[in-house]
């Protein structure tokens, strides 16, 4: 029997789970509000996923093209999301992102500059104007380091590094904190708090080919779901079109969209620039239809339309897959991405230094001379915890908030590149404000229910204590294979049902996984515990994907081709029922405010001429 009083317990006003861009930005806001703030992270400070982001952060500052403004950014985001985004979130994001980026500069960030000394902005897929504030191709590093260096000087802000949250604690219906475990010692920790902000990112590790790190096991989604929160839009998993495909050990590692933003073109093994054949009707009026026009655009002609390589990610990923399947792929089953013929070696090294480095070191390939081989890789979760747009509060659990990749709503059916980093700082701040406001109404620390603690610890230690059991790494690999083959870019009902059966089987195996007995820094043990999150997240994606009988954005059903009007009116919401099963519900979307609808559906000419 676990004696709860012997477990170290700490008390804070607010607990933030996750120290990526979203978590750190939320922490800064909480500290500014005078709250005693705790931040938990599975890895070391500054190493979260955010550090890997390359291309940039979208904000309509208009430093490069003065025609840009929040309305155009908002329209791009809605169109990119196939109109399934939460209108209010897309509005808040487009309006607030510029201030949040400038604020980073006041905190010491050093972005690349325009000739007149302002923050430079680059082109990216789906963005009408050059909009991404960036630092070469290491924008995420600049973001996280700036927030980290700013946060460590804040008062009453404590970071718990390499400390993994296992389960949320509740006092009745509302949040009361969490049970966590230190990776280093294997000891448990109870964090009591009045509010919890979930900033844990996504769940890409359920797939085999992914740009995500081991941290992305869907813990946040699962903990929130298990505690009664709703998940939304999880069928929309973004496959980034350009991951590395060779050598095998780096398959999935990201090649930034910045390569295409800087002029990189896609070719098949016949040397054809195939993207011209895949331009969707909705984007045809705004996309170049000849190589000549695309070249003029690259040279800076403002009247030329954008090259088709910069179409939204879902379109490009499907096009590459189709080319490969038609036998026109590269030797290792991808497409050729060529920047060498478009830019000088010097430009490439200056604008894309880490890509140059990455290919040189990992693939022995010089991108200033040869084309890269690229193919789709699982990259991002558009879906996540369902929240109120203004406060980021969970729709069902009082005291629970979510922001960043862990939350749903901003991106709809497909995220535009660069809209995540800006999402983190806009909604990280709003979550901090939301939590601070909520806490004003909570006078005392919610009660601690020892049974919940004991239950979590009993579960966690069962993997260490059992005599024998299966190797958790093998179960994880089997799940990755299953998701890769049955819940991929192109889906159908048969395979999705098989996936669900497979997940149920894997769940049984996961319950009996066995980790080596040592609890100190034991990755096998953490792998065993992560399986619950991975499987719950995988099940959520498969169930939602099976329910949505249409193809929209990142979700493609070969048995239900094309967008269907009726499905444009609903988001899919999941919730855990009392019997432990997963409820799938279609949630009718609200009518958009008239103002916003006008902007989103306006022609670009009308919008630019100020007629909207």
């Amino acid at each position: 029997m676990v004696d709860v009083r012997e477990i170290k317990t700490v008390e804070h006003d607010v607990l933030i789970i996750g120290a990526g861009g979203a978590g750190l930005r939320a922490a800064i806001e909480c500290s500014n509000a005078g709250l005693d703030t705790a931040v938990l992270t599975k890895s070391l400070l500054g190493k979260a996923h955010t550090v890997m982001a390359e291309g940039g952060m979208a904000a309509a500052m208009g430093n490069v093209d003065p025609r840009d403004n929040w309305k155009v950014h908002f329209r791009d985001t809605m169109r990119g999301g196939k109109f399934l985004n939460q209108w209010r979130m897309a509005e808040l994001h487009a309006k607030q992102a510029p201030d949040r980026v400038r604020e980073l500069e006041e905190w010491g960030a050093v972005f690349d500059r325009t000739p007149d000394g302002l923050i430079n902005q680059r082109n990216f897929g789906g963005h009408r104007f050059p909009r991404l504030a960036h630092v070469g191709d290491r924008t995420g590093l600049e973001l996280i380091r700036t927030l980290q260096d700013h946060a460590v000087h804040k008062g009453r802000l404590q970071v718990y590094m390499e400390c993994k949250a296992l389960r949320l604690l509740k006092d009745g219906d509302r949040m009361a904190g969490c049970v966590a475990v230190w990776r280093e010692t294997g000891r448990f920790l109870i964090v009591r708090a009045k509010a919890v902000i979930m900033a844990t990112g996504g769940g890409g590790r359920a797939w085999r080919v992914t740009s995500n790190s081991w941290e992305y096991s869907g813990d946040g989604l699962t903990m929130a779901y298990d505690a009664g929160a709703e998940l939304m839009d999880v069928e929309f998993t973004q496959f980034h079109p350009t991951g590395m495909v060779w050598p095998p050990s780096v398959r999935g590692t990201l090649v930034t969209e910045g390569v295409r933003g800087e002029g990189g073109i896609l070719k098949n093994n016949k040397g054809e620039r195939f993207m011209f054949r895949y331009i969707p009707e909705r984007f045809a009026p705004e996309t170049a239809d000849t190589e000549e026009e695309a070249a003029r655009w690259l040279a800076g002609d403002k009247n030329a339309r954008r090259p088709p390589e910069l179409l939204t990610r879902d379109v490009v990923a499907r096009a590459i897959k189709a080319e490969v399947e038609a036998g026109r792929g590269s030797p290792h089953g991808g497409a050729f991405l060529d920047i060498a013929s478009q830019r000088t070696a010097e430009d490439i090294k200056r604008k894309l230094p880490s890509m140059y480095h990455q290919f040189k070191e990992l693939a022995e390939l010089d991108i200033t001379k040869e084309p890269m081989e690229v193919g789709p890789t699982l990259h991002y979760f558009m879906g996540g915890i369902r929240v109120d747009p203004d406060t980021q509060a969970s729709t069902t659990v009082p005291g629970l908030f979510a922001c960043g990749e862990a939350a749903a709503g901003l991106h709809g059916a497909n995220r535009l590149g660069g809209n995540s980093l800006s999402d983190l700082i806009v909604f990280g701040r709003l979550a901090g404000l939301g939590a601070a406001d909520y806490i004003k109404g909570v006078s005392e620390l919610p009660a601690l229910d020892e049974d919940q603690v004991r239950d979590a610890i009993r579960w966690a230690t069962s993997f260490l204590n059992r005599e024998s059991g299966e190797n958790p790494y093998v179960i994880h690999e089997d799940l990755q294979e299953l998701m890769q083959t049955k819940v991929g870019i192109i889906r159908n009902a048969t395979e999705l049902s098989q996936a669900l059966e497979g997940i149920a089987e894997l769940r049984k195996r996961a319950e009996n996984a066995k980790a080596h007995a040592a609890s100190q820094y034991n990755p096998g043990w953490h792998e065993a515990m992560d399986l619950h999150s991975l499987l719950t997240t995988a099940e959520a994606v498969a169930r939602a994907a099976l329910t949505r009988e249409e193809s929209r954005g990142a979700h493609t059903r070969e048995d239900f081709e094309g967008e269907r009007e009726e499905w444009g009116k609903v988001n899919i919401v999941l919730r855990k029922l009392d019997d432990g099963s997963m409820e799938v519900r279609k949630l009718e979307r609200d009518e958009p405010p008239e103002e916003l609808a006008k902007i989103a559906f306006a022609t670009i000419e009308d919008l630019e001429a100020g007629r909207v």
Partner: protein, 258 residues
Amino acid sequence: MSKRTFRVWRGDAEGGRFVEYNVEVGPGMVILDALHRIQAEQSPDLAVRWNCKAGKCGSCSMEVNGKPRLSCMTRISDYEPEQIITVQPLKTFPIIRDLVTDVSWNFEQNKRIPPFRPKAPGPDGKLRMWQEDVDRIQEFRKCIECFLCQDVCHVLRDHEKKQNFVGPRFIMRIASLEMHPLDTVDRIPQTLREFGSGWCNITRCCTEVCPEHINITDNAIIPTKERVVDRFYDPVAMLTRKIRGEDPARAREEGKVP
């Protein structure tokens, strides 16, 4: 596919030993891949720290055949086919388990450095900086905090001296703040007295191991020492100044050269 032998240090703060593993290696595999294969097939509890597997996060630092390296960016094929590859934890920091060390000391040093405080914006309400003025600090800001430079610096390896010197990573962090065109804080007296810039005797070992190829010593440490020398005495910096002449960027800032 072929088999290779890895000698991996296993143990904890109390002590440990090298354990040999035979691993199938395929094309393009890096050291971290081999360690993952050991975890998956032979020793699930082998402790390794990693995140991005693309040289971007600086988590997977260790010593490979005695050299500080990022294990995710070190290709196995770089070593002669018959050579046994020895993998061990960073030496400068206390061991937690196997290949994982306690690097928290570094985070404490960072906290000691007074933060950035910007100038007021220009009359149009905007902050302006020019690319040529930020090129230099952007080089420093490429740092992924892998702490390989800290590991190799002999001042820090000598554990007694850790309390005197913050190490190359953080002298460089000070440099990136001091050379920031918008910053208003003066950290130079502290750099000498508290952060121990005088302990560095410019061996350049840190620069050699930096996976980001940052020229830590010449571009960050020496110019910082120069600034210290402008106000205080530092024998090593005095000497290099005689050899190298003035720091050109510094001279430009002060309007000595156009």
